[in-house]
């Protein structure tokens, strides 16, 4: 699917619902929570999550955050697994085209708001942009302590020993930290935060990012944020420094060697090809190559 076909989708405007679905009081409540989140980077702020017309787990947190900050002049991009054309991204983009009458785009550069599930775009973000993450489980300590009443105390006391022990246990058992996505980060030397289930490949993009990053967890009723240019460090050890996934292959479509690659099974005989997970990045590179060829 190319960029043009997604632009200006039919948007008749839903009658009977407020602009961007949520009522203004709810949006104000959300924005208050978001302001608090921005003021305390990495801290999980409870908020009164609403039922949305899509199921929990489909991005209700991200959708509520976007609904509370979006305005008619915004340009919205929605991705899932890095792609603009995955079913859920299509559905959420349509939701806002209908309820908020905004222009939608697949371009990471043109977008003022990018809502994402499981990826950070390969294209570097810039000042004034907002990246909204859909978060399933906001609590980084959840697998180590099931109780919210306990984990809130642990954050308050910065009692993060268990997390380091768990990473160390990985090294002791496997010789390396075996976390591949939702890899925990330390925000401004204060709170440990879950970056949402992005591959650890994307973790470095969170650090010192010029864009505002907002995280919404609808079912768990939490928002948190990374204001622009926040220091975000992936947890590691001196002798086991953090590293990201690498591929021997390059993208079969655009030839990129620097992007996160999805493995696509091509037959039942072990055939594989690797393609960019970020479809816009891939298309953009392809278009640039086409232009080069045309001028050559």
């Amino acid at each position: 699917m190319n960029a043009e076909s997604l632009e200006g989708e039919d948007r008749p405007g839903h009658t009977g619902y407020n602009y961007a679905y949520l009522d203004e009081q709810t949006k104000r409540m959300l924005r208050r929570a978001l302001l608090k989140a921005v003021a305390i980077p990495g801290y999980q702020v409870p908020f009164a999550s609403r039922e949305m017309p899509m199921p929990y787990g489909w991005g209700t947190g991200g959708v509520q955050v976007t609904a509370s900050i979006i305005g008619p002049s915004d340009v919205l991009k929605v991705i899932d697994q890095g792609a603009d054309d995955t079913t859920n991204a299509v559905s959420i983009r349509k939701f806002f085209a209908n309820t908020a009458q905004v222009t939608t785009t697949t371009s990471s550069e043109r977008a003022t708001i990018i809502q994402t599930r499981h990826r950070v775009p390969e294209t570097a973000l810039s000042d004034g942009q907002i990246l909204v993450y859909q978060v399933p489980i906001p609590e980084p300590l959840r697998w180590l302590e099931a109780r919210e009443s306990e984990t809130r105390k642990m954050h308050a006391l910065r009692e993060y020993g268990v997390m380091h022990v768990s990473l160390y246990e990985d090294i002791a058992h496997h010789g390396r930290i075996a976390k591949s996505y939702d890899y925990p980060v330390l925000v401004e030397d204060a709170y440990i935060m879950r970056p949402s289930p992005i591959p650890k490949f994307d973790n470095p993009k969170l650090d010192n990012c010029p864009a505002l990053q907002l995280f919404g967890a609808g079912r768990e009723r939490r928002v948190y944020a990374l204001p622009p240019y926040t220091r975000v460090v992936s947890l590691d050890f001196e002798d086991h420094p953090f590293d990201v996934e690498t591929w021997e292959e390059s993208c079969a479509i655009c030839g990129a060697q620097d992007s996160f690659l999805d493995e696509v099974v091509t037959d039942d005989k072990g055939g594989r090809m690797h393609v960019c997970s970020d479809t816009e990045y891939c298309n953009k590179r392809l278009a640039a190559q086409g232009r080069q060829e045309a001028t050559a």
Binding site: E51, D85, S180, P197
Partner: protein, 364 residues
């Protein structure tokens, strides 16, 4: 091929059309009307209203029709509608003492003032399929009693209270009642928030939790003190009037469990209460709710034993079926990227493992 993997917009649209067609079924068969659902599937309507936290029989019937009879989907539809409605305020507490009773039973006294009123219940039916119902045109009629029921009936808990055998129900009017749909949950939860969460909790989940307490996982020694079902008036105080006016009448089922309490250093032995309330006739739900409400008071009463039904965070975080179904079912959404990361780690771990094994072999 690549595009097929990523799905697409047209596929979604076509799926929606197919869904609409499947919902309607064979067009030769007459379409269900909302009054039919409301009247003849009334217990389904009651459950959708209860767990959807919205009292509107017509909307609940519409939700059931749209959801093809899927309870949780219908509840979800109602919730997503409810959340957009403006909030005027909280009604006055329902006065269930003055319920226009259609059913009222107690398991603790053979007879009591007002009597046992069985009402429309499955309790004593034989569960034999009634093949006569397969045919149209059955118009059963029940005879109206000669004398109407008394205007109000004393409660079993009231009778015990008069003797001081039961804890008094504490009323705290000092602060506004919680609204779990407008605040994030916090723990320990206050009882008002807890009862609200239980009232909209999944019937099946609460049933299993309540049942587990009866099988020894946090026994509360319950008696069904009283179950009553009937119509109650809903009163509301509009700010501009300053006094209560009746805004309507709803059917509710209320259950008060009586539970043993052996006493502690500071409290004399007495009966304690578990409370359940549901819209319409949701008796199983009201009873389960009352069992779980009481089980969740374990810590307060100093009897916590670590049973699942006594664990507030466990019960309240997992009782909401709209949340649960969303998150469990979201696993069918694409996870290509995370899976790719896992593949990559797994291959590395396997390579490390093989190298280590080879080295070990070489050393031997």
């Amino acid at each position: 091929m690549y595009v097929a993997v990523k799905g697409g917009e047209r596929a979604i649209e076509n799926a929606h059309k197919l869904l609409a067609e499947a919902r309607r079924g064979d067009p030769e068969v007459p379409e269900l009307s909302l009054p039919q659902i409301e009247q003849q599937l009334s217990l389904a309507v009651d459950r959708v209203m209860t767990e959807g936290s919205l009292h509107d029989r017509e909307l609940a019937a519409l939700a059931l029709k749209q959801a093809r009879g899927d309870m949780i989907e219908a509840i979800f539809l109602v919730r997503a509608y409810r959340t957009t409605l403006p909030r005027f305020g909280a009604s006055e507490p329902l006065d269930t003492d003055n319920m226009a009773i259609r059913r009222r039973v107690s398991a603790t006294y053979k007879d009591l003032p007002g009597g046992q009123i069985l009402g429309p219940t499955f309790d004593y039916t034989h569960r034999l399929l009634d093949f006569a119902l397969a045919e149209d045109g059955v118009h059963p009629e029940a005879r109206v009693a000669d004398d109407p029921l008394p205007q109000s009936m004393p409660r079993v808990t009231g009778l015990l209270d008069a003797e001081g055998l039961i804890e008094s129900s504490e009323v705290d009017d000092s602060r506004p009642v919680a609204d779990v749909t407008r605040e994030a949950e916090s723990f320990p939860a206050d009882r008002d928030a807890r009862l609200q969460a239980l009232a909209r909790g999944d019937e099946g989940f609460l049933l299993a939790m309540g049942y587990s307490t009866q099988r020894g996982f946090g026994n509360t020694h319950p008696f069904a003190g009283e179950i009553r079902m009937g119509e109650v008036a809903v009163e509301f105080i509009p700010e501009e009037l300053g006094f209560a006016i009746e805004i309507g009448e709803i059917t509710v089922t209320e259950c008060e469990m009586l539970n043993q309490f052996k006493g502690s250093d500071t409290h004399a032995p007495k009966f304690t209460r578990g409370y359940g309330l549901a819209f319409g006739q949701c008796e199983r739900k009201a009873m389960s709710m009352a069992l779980v409400d009481r089980a969740l008071r374990a810590r307060e009463l100093g009897e916590a034993s670590g049973a699942p039904a006594q664990d507030e965070e466990f019960v309240l975080y997992h009782s909401d079926n709209v949340q649960a179904t969303g998150f469990s079912e979201h696993l069918k959404l694409p996870h290509y990227v995370d899976f790719q990361s896992e593949l990559s780690i797994l291959r590395n771990l396997r390579r490390d493992h093989d190298t280590k094994a080879a080295r070990k072999e070489a050393a031997e």
